[in-house]
């Protein structure tokens, strides 16, 4: 188990390096000069020259990269060009927020997507199936911002049931924190739920045809138990793999959702950083996101092993 994780981490190192080089290069190619954006309205040439020197913009790209890597190794990701805050601090501040959002969204996605997928597979070709599909696809094609703003106008403004936007750390007030995050998580969750539903459906369709489901019926088990325990349990493996794949979509969706609901998370951080050409922050975020992917993959593999006894020790 440990050796497995260790091996995965060793594999992950080149990935992370590759990603960092890629992003570093890409940033250098971006139009727009961070220093110019920083220099302010007056654009004093002296200040510009000084800032260029200070942030080592005059060094060759590879020197900049080496400097950055050196920092990373010692746990220093640099400081934000915009607010002078250390990037590590920013990330430490934002990461839990996005994790909370992502987890809650995932809960929504699972709670909506999986039952809908099961239902439409079990009732394939019936009205239920069609309705489930139409609902899922509308979840996919309704843009996040539209759903988000509509919810804000309805739930927060009209009913005054939930806060319109913002973020409260769970440590401060758990209930309020959950309440604030409810709408964004729902919005982010619905789009994922659609994908999850479609894939759950096809996995279930496959499993329902299998011999062991017939065996379960032959045992005289109740239909509910046959579907939920015997069939679903086996459809879970592809669903878990997919959920790991959804992580990317989750992050991308979080960017939009955080914008709408003004949640100070990773997504907002990255958008602002990109628009301000706050490279140190971008680079730091990408690094963490990449690690997130790797962790997700490891978790998915682990879940895979747990779910699928065939892969366990012989």
């Amino acid at each position: 188990m440990l050796s497995f994780v260790a091996r995965r981490i060793v594999i992950a190192i080149p990935t992370v390096i590759l990603i960092s080089i890629f992003v570093f290069g890409l940033q250098k190619l971006l139009p727009g000069d961070p220093i110019l954006a920083m220099a302010g309205e007056e654009r004093d040439p002296e200040t510009i020259a000084f800032l260029r020197e200070k942030y080592r913009m005059n060094d060759p790209v590879w020197v900049q990269y080496a400097t950055w890597i050196k920092g990373v190794v010692t746990g220093n990701l640099g400081i934000s060009l915009r607010t002078n805050q250390p990037v590590t601090e920013l990330i430490a501040q934002k990461l839990p927020v996005t994790i909370q959002l992502a987890l809650m969204a995932l809960v929504f996605a699972l709670v909506i997507g999986i039952p809908a997928g099961i239902l439409s597979a079990v009732k394939k070709g019936t009205i239920t199936d069609y309705v489930a599909n139409v609902v899922a696809l509308s979840g996919l094609s309704i843009p996040n911002f539209w759903l988000g703003i509509m919810l804000i106008l309805l739930v927060a403004v009209k009913w005054q049931a939930l806060p319109a936007s913002g973020y409260v750390p769970p440590g401060e007030d758990l209930w309020l924190s959950l309440k604030t995050m409810l709408m964004p998580a729902f919005v982010l969750g619905t789009a994922l739920a659609a994908t999850l539903m479609r894939h759950t459906r096809s996995a279930m369709l496959g499993v329902l045809k299998s011999d062991y489901v017939r065996t379960a019926r032959a045992k005289g088990l109740a239909e509910r138990r046959v579907i939920l325990r015997h069939a679903f349990r086996n459809a879970l493996t592809p669903i878990v793999t997919l959920t790991a794949l959804l992580f990317g979509e989750l992050i991308a969706g979080a960017v939009l959702t955080e914008q709408i609901f003004t949640i100070p998370g990773f997504g907002k951080l990255v958008v602002d950083a990109v628009f301000n050409r706050d490279y140190a922050v971008v680079q730091g975020i990408v690094l963490v996101t990449a690690m997130g992917f790797i962790v997700m993959n490891i978790l998915a593999d682990a879940a895979y092993f747990v779910l699928n006894p065939r892969l366990r020790k012989q």
Binding site: M1, F305, R312
Partner: protein, 371 residues
């Protein structure tokens, strides 16, 4: 040129398995030191328990797997290490018929394409039309009709699918065909059709056949010589008639005694094997059969038996076969109780009638297949 077409010497195939999340890797000794010789023009059979390595051996001979150790000679040429273009060339002379007619055909290709493919690969000189004619000829050869070329595998019955597989194997005009349980998945009436077909093709096309099967009646019916495998090794080999008449290795004895016969009310002495086949990942020491052998003695657990000559061409890997043979009544099979007199006449009538019918090859498979 010798009269040997295929020769394997000390062939081994070890698989590494496990090494996943929590398991350490293990070595599965699927084939562990097998030597066989196949003569030009004969039918050579391999039998053995499920999981004893028959399919692995066949794949090694086909070079679908690369051997861990050992040499394979085809037509005097060593093929154990060839790759790439040479390997593809080899495929022209050596073909394979799969055990499972359901999973071994690409469900998304029409029969015409499936059969045309080896022609396209190995006889690129043929034009499109010539190829189509050739496909038609092959389909007719195996008792299908040229029009079937436009249909898809799932529209055929198991027997018909197996015929498609055979047509495909014949397309490159091979000199050796290896069949991995080509009839096991079929029911008796269809099995008979395929067995006859293989027999006819063999004599007509001057081919050598290597057949793997676990149905001993089929083996006896088809093969000239046979090798019996147990847990990755050959335990007995020799001419088919001799082995069926006088099995020597205790495993062969058990195998033959377990055959159920379609004759009602027959009392038999069965040599029951106890326990399960040991895992090829940790085969027993000494004689690999000793854990289940009713005649095992103490030293069987330590001494590895060699495959040694027992009579004429028969070889046996057992320390004590002579003694076992002496203490046991001859395990040969006694003739079956006769059918009623009326039934015998019916059978004769039936045979005569079907012979008339099969003279007209078109009718052999004329009815529409199940879809």
């Amino acid at each position: 040129m010798t009269d040997l077409i295929l020769k394997a010497d000390g062939l081994k195939k070890h698989f590494q398995v496990g090494g996943g999340f929590m398991a350490e890797t293990k070595t599965v000794r699927a084939v562990d030191g097998v030597s066989i010789e196949v003569r030009r023009g004969e039918t050579f059979a391999i039998v053995g328990e499920s999981g004893c390595g028959k399919s692995t051996l066949a794949r090694l001979l086909m070079r679908l797997l690369e051997p861990t150790e050992g040499a394979i000679e085809f037509d005097g040429r060593d093929i154990a290490g060839i790759r790439g273009r040479d390997l593809r060339e080899l495929r022209r002379d050596m073909q394979f018929v799969f055990q499972d007619p359901f999973s071994s055909l690409n469900p998304r290709m029409s029969v015409g394409k499936l059969v045309g493919e080896p022609i396209e690969t190995h006889r690129p000189e043929l034009s499109r039309t010539q190829r189509r004619q050739e496909v038609a000829r092959l389909l007719r050869t195996v008792g299908l009709r040229p029009e079937h070329a436009d249909r898809y595998p799932h529209e055929f019955s198991g027997g018909q699918r197996q015929r498609i597989g055979i047509a495909r194997a014949l397309a490159s005009n091979p000199r050796l065909v290896i069949g991995d349980e080509p009839v096991s998945a079929l029911d008796v009436s269809v099995q008979a059709q395929v067995v006859n077909l293989l027999h006819d093709l063999k004599s007509k096309l001057d081919m050598t056949l290597v057949i793997i099967a676990h149905d001993l009646a089929v083996i006896r019916h088809m093969s000239d010589r046979v090798a019996v495998m147990y847990l990755g090794q050959v335990v007995e080999s020799g001419p088919t008639d001799e082995i069926f008449a006088a099995p020597r290795h205790p495993y062969t004895l058990a195998l033959l005694s377990a055959i159920p016969e379609p004759v009602h009310g027959r009392e038999r002495t069965r040599i029951a094997l106890s326990g399960e086949t040991p895992s090829p990942a940790s085969p027993p020491s000494g004689c690999r059969f000793h854990t289940r052998c009713p005649f095992a003695r103490e030293d069987c657990a330590t001494r590895v038996p060699e495959l040694r000559v027992a009579a004429n061409e028969t070889r046996v890997a057992c320390h004590y076969w002579e003694e076992i043979a002496a203490t046991r009544p001859k395990a040969g099979l006694t003739p079956a109780a006769a059918r009623s007199e009326g039934a015998q006449r019916r059978f004769a009538l039936y045979e005569a009638a079907t012979l008339r019918q099969t003279d007209r090859p078109e009718t052999a498979s004329n009815a529409g297949a199940t879809t």
